[in-house]
Symmetry: C2
Subunit: 118 residues, 2 copies
DNA sequence: TAATGTAGGCACTAAAAAGTAACAATTGGA
DNA sequence: TCCAATTGTTACTTTTTAGTGCCTACATTA
């Protein structure tokens, strides 16, 4: 059994890493299919996306729904347990916003223009 | 200038990684000197600790105070800006606690017994 | 007939993060 | 004289994380 020195380490095990918080921030807004997520995160590769989604599913925070169609359609959404992360995700997003304003007061284009999704 | 796709990426740049949240969770409780932090985090190496502390200092969330003594005494604490992370840190700690309870209901010794610090 | 779109697997390589070990500096005390 | 205590640096190695390219499946559409 995994051991932690302090409880917060258990949270980091679930949502730590480069991508998971970003994925969750997108999914908390709306249910998304794989390709949409990939377009929302221009930096991620198919491999990493799949891998991170699998781990989040494993930890019970997201749901993977496969529709039996061709071409395939897979949708990801937060589970009820995933929604218990809402407070954390909201706080992180808000802090990120104000940190950008504080750090780049001239507010040039620090944020990449979001692309068309659907 | 660094570019972000969504603002939360800016937050992850400051508190992301394996150690920073843990360090901040300790410092939010009380001011600590280097050796205390090292004992509080049995898994961290001197190098990683120093490196992470430098980066946190660089980002303005912690303060490094050097006392001119021999042997040296260095104390770390949260800056005012660092305290703006309190909501996030509290939420993460709380989520971690309940996640442990949910995941290991038999509640054996998932938490390593904390060692003596001072 | 042949290309298109979607999700994802696999083998391999590259880059980033983290760990290891040895060394420095200073001064009080054995 | 030499060691202990505290914080930190540096060079090097290992581990983890991430990226690339190529392959599958199959109904629809051109």
């Amino acid at each position: 059994m995994k051991k932690y020195n302090i409880p917060v380490e258990a949270a980091l095990e679930v949502i730590g890493g480069k991508w998971k918080v970003v994925i969750l921030c997108h999914l908390i807004k709306e249910k998304r299919r794989t390709g949409e997520l990939k377009r929302l995160m221009p930096g991620i590769t198919q491999k990493m996306l799949t891998q991170q989604l699998r781990e989040l599913e494993e930890d019970g925070v997201i749901l993977r729904e496969v529709y039996n169609q061709v071409p395939p359609r897979v949708e990801y959404s937060l589970t009820k347990y995933g929604w218990s992360l809402k407070g954390i995700l909201d706080a992180l997003c808000a802090w990120g916003e104000q940190h950008i304003e504080k750090t780049y007061p001239e507010k040039d284009s620090v944020l990449v223009k979001p692309i068309e999704i659907k």
